[in-house]
């Protein structure tokens, strides 16, 4: 299948390699819009995009908002708590109320896996874009990670991508595993056994519980954020940030000893400086972290455009 003909983007697990490549190609075109003096194209003029963020997020929501506005869409933000079901209105009721106001796209972030899928099934007339559902997927993050690597390394064949950190709770990791393996890269995950979920290999990767073998030979090191709350949640995942950082954090010394000289360092943000990454690594020549952010807006523009079924390839030559 070429092109992208779905009404929703719920996860990279649903897409085939051609669909993913198509989204990246369209995103590449939208990148140029973001570099012009007038950062606007009329592609989604008159369309309504609702950001339904039931889990806190500034970066992703801002990125989607900028993307929607640059496409000339009207945007509206609703924030709330994912546990609203306990306090009153269920997710479906919230969504049905929204739909009665005829939005074209609802961008949803939810703390519980599966909520986004439930919405997509219940709202057949509205496009749903997953901005992160629990520990399941964060497909636009996966796509911007893919675009960043493609631009930096030219392609995925023969490449190895290593993801380090709290794999167990990470939707970023899952989307990355789906995306990178479908496009032909080898994927490794690395962390203490407490943070590697059972059966992760069946998604298409190899798991390591020591950093050195995971880093050796890898073209890309994707570092995941370690959440301080994880220690105190009673999960007993690791005894302290210090111990985690010493064994799984990346610094210049480890890069010099183990990594390829041209290794690419990625991070979905926000970075815990000094935990996953030494500041000098985060800011150094290996890092493409800011490119990821830039590519994020382009990818989200592509996704918003594609889910509405637009097949206008020349739309980016603005008619504003």
């Amino acid at each position: 299948m070429t092109g992208f003909a779905r009404k929703d983007l719920l996860g990279l697990a649903d897409l085939d390699a051609d669909e993913i490549r198509h989204i990246l190609d369209v995103a590449d075109q939208f990148r140029d819009v973001n570099l012009r003096p007038i950062k606007k194209v009329p592609t989604l003029r008159g369309k309504s995009v609702v950001h339904l963020f039931l889990e806190p997020s500034t970066r992703t929501r801002t990125s989607f908002d900028i993307a929607a506005k640059r496409l000339s869409a009207d945007t509206f933000s609703i924030t709330g708590s994912s546990s609203s079901a306990k306090k009153g209105e269920t997710l479906l009721d919230t969504a049905r109320n929204l739909v009665a106001m005829h939005p074209d796209i609802i961008v949803v972030r939810h703390a519980l896996a599966g909520g986004v899928r439930m919405l997509a099934e219940a709202l057949p007339e509205t496009s749903i874009v997953n901005a992160g559902d629990g520990a399941c997927e964060h497909p636009t993050q996966g796509l911007l990670d893919l675009l960043t690597v493609r631009r930096r390394l030219g392609g995925f064949d023969g490449r190895t991508v290593t993801i380090v950190g709290d794999i167990k709770h990470s939707r970023v990791a899952r989307s990355a595993i789906h995306g990178f393996s479908k496009l032909g890269a080898k994927v490794r995950v690395c962390g203490p056994k407490t943070l590697i979920p059972p059966g992760i290999e069946s998604l298409g990767c190899e798991s390591f519980d020591r950093l050195e073998p995971a880093v050796r030979g890898a073209d890309v090191l994707m570092m995941l954020r370690i959440q301080q709350e994880r220690i105190h949640l009673g999960g007993h995942y690791f005894p302290s940030i210090r111990e985690y950082s010493r064994r799984y954090g990346v610094n210049r010394d480890k890069l010099k000893r183990w990594a390829r000289r041209d290794v690419v360092i990625m991070h979905p943000g926000p970075i815990n400086r000094g935990v996953e990454l030494e500041p000098e690594v985060a800011d150094g020549g290996w890092s493409v972290i800011l490119d990821q952010v830039e590519n994020g807006v382009a990818v989200r523009m592509a996704v918003l455009y594609l889910v509405l079924g637009g097949r206008r390839t020349a739309a980016t030559e603005g008619r504003a």
């Binding site: 939810h110 520990a135 059966g199």
Partner: protein, 443 residues
């Protein structure tokens, strides 16, 4: 029970294949019911029966003791929007069950004789099935202090359980077992180490990893089964493991039985039919406790039924309202209804050659009764006139809206199951008719 001794018309069930595991009988004979009891079972009884007797033609049908379910949740008192004792009884007889045991996690909890008495009275008032309450082990199911178990027994309880919750305190469990041994009743255990469970909402494995849902390891069940087998040995009490679901637990129970310990268990139809793959798409009708497990566990459940380690098929019938299920998976309440699909799902196993017919029927009749010392589940002369007549050649399609239960939370929606319940008789009175004029529950 006053209802039973009312003089209903005697009933002669003619020409059906009588399957009675308690006696080993499997033959085409007549069954004569009068005065609320089985009066005779044998060939050509028509001549001995008066003209007033209702004649039921059971040719081509199976005639079995009314089924017995050791594990249901009837939600009354307190949660009547999901189910009541009356609607639960209706669901039972529609599924061929004439005796059901109901758990104590009502509101208020059934931890006193008063609530037990209420349940018994409510069941008698609707008169559709025999409802035997299971009282709480601990006050308010908190797992801290013993409830007044003897008081509940006096009011009609037949066993105790904190089902829904594990009893984490081993010392309390020991004393509870000793107390139950004194009273001669089984203690039914819900085996789940709350700490190891760590907030899991489905079986921990590749499926939970892919779906991004917190996983509940099989080890949470096994460690508690191991512990309670040790306590059964220490106390000599009867431990009955509710809704067993793992290969490891079944293996340990088998070994315990071989060693002569009084450990029995039951399995639900959903555990011998489905695996964690059923959660695909975040179907909340596939969320229950214990969760659906791996294929190897499902196979162990069937093997356990085959070799008798598992004495009973028990539904763990757990109705929930749609607002409690049509929400995010992690927030959805745990449990599925099961009374009206239990026999059909059991027959699926039989038709696939995985379970002999008599073994299957035993697990729904004499098996559970023998495990709990209950005088039901048999068609012997003098037994209560509780009978189910089944059409083995028909089939039943599961339509949640059409179930007798108030709730429709079943993972088997849309399935077509073999056999159909043609008639259910409780205490000599027909309480359910599967087809024909007047089909449905007969109140």
């Amino acid at each position: 029970m006053s209802r039973v001794s009312e003089s209903h018309r005697p009933i002669l069930i003619r020409g059906g294949r009588v399957l009675d595991p308690a006696s080993g009988r499997d033959e085409v004979v007549d069954v004569y019911l009068a005065d609320g009891k089985v009066q005779d079972v044998g060939p050509r009884l028509a001549g001995q029966v008066g003209r007033k007797a209702e004649r039921v033609d059971a040719k081509g049908h199976w005639v079995m003791p009314g089924f017995v379910d050791l594990h249901t949740h009837l939600r009354e008192p307190g949660f009547e929007y999901k189910e009541t004792i009356a609607t639960g009884s209706a669901s039972a007889v529609a599924g061929g069950f004439t005796t059901i045991l109901c758990m104590a996690n009502t509101k208020p909890v059934n931890d006193t004789g008063t609530v037990t008495r209420y349940m018994v009275d409510a069941a008698e008032a609707c008169g559709l099935a025999r409802v035997l309450p299971i009282g709480a082990v601990s006050k308010a199911l908190k797992g801290e202090e013993l409830a007044e178990i003897a008081d509940m027994l006096e009011q009609g309880a037949v066993a105790v359980s904190d089902d829904g919750y594990p009893i984490m305190n081993a010392h309390l469990m020991r004393r509870a077992l000793e107390y139950c041994a004194t009273l001669g009743i089984p203690l039914i255990v819900h085996e789940e180490d709350i700490n190891l469970a760590a907030g899991g909402v489905m079986n921990e494995g590749p499926v939970s990893t892919r779906l991004g849902l917190p996983g509940l390891t099989w080890a949470a069940e096994d460690v508690m089964v191991a512990r309670d087998i040790v306590l059964a040995e220490l106390t000599g009490a009867h431990v009955h493991v509710a809704h067993v679901s793992t290969a490891g637990a079944i293996r340990m129970i088998r070994d315990a039985q071989k060693r002569g310990l009084r450990v029995t268990t039951e399995v639900t139809p959903h555990h011998f039919t489905l695996t964690d793959e059923a959660v695909e798409g975040y179907d909340t009708d596939a969320r229950m406790a214990p969760p659906l497990r791996f294929e190897r566990d499902r196979q162990a459940c069937i093997e356990g039924l085959r070799d008798g380690t598992i004495a009973a098929i028990a539904t763990d019938h757990a109705p929930h309202g749609s607002h409690e299920k049509c929400i995010e998976f992690e927030l959805a309440l745990m449990g599925v209804v099961g009374l009206e699909t239990s026999f059909g799902l059991t027959m699926r196993l039989v038709e696939a050659g995985e379970l002999p017919l008599m073994t299957a029927v035993r697990a729904l009749t004499s098996g559970p009764c023998r495990a709990f010392g209950l005088p039901y589940g048999t068609l012997g002369v003098g037994a209560p006139a509780d009978v189910v007549v089944v059409d083995p050649d028909a089939s039943t399609t599961v339509v949640p809206e059409k179930l007798e239960s108030k709730s429709g939370n079943t993972p088997f929606k849309g399935w077509t199951l073999p056999t159909r319940i043609a008639r259910t008789i409780f205490g000599g009175r027909t309480v359910y008719l599967g087809d024909g004029p007047g089909a449905g529950v007969v109140r």
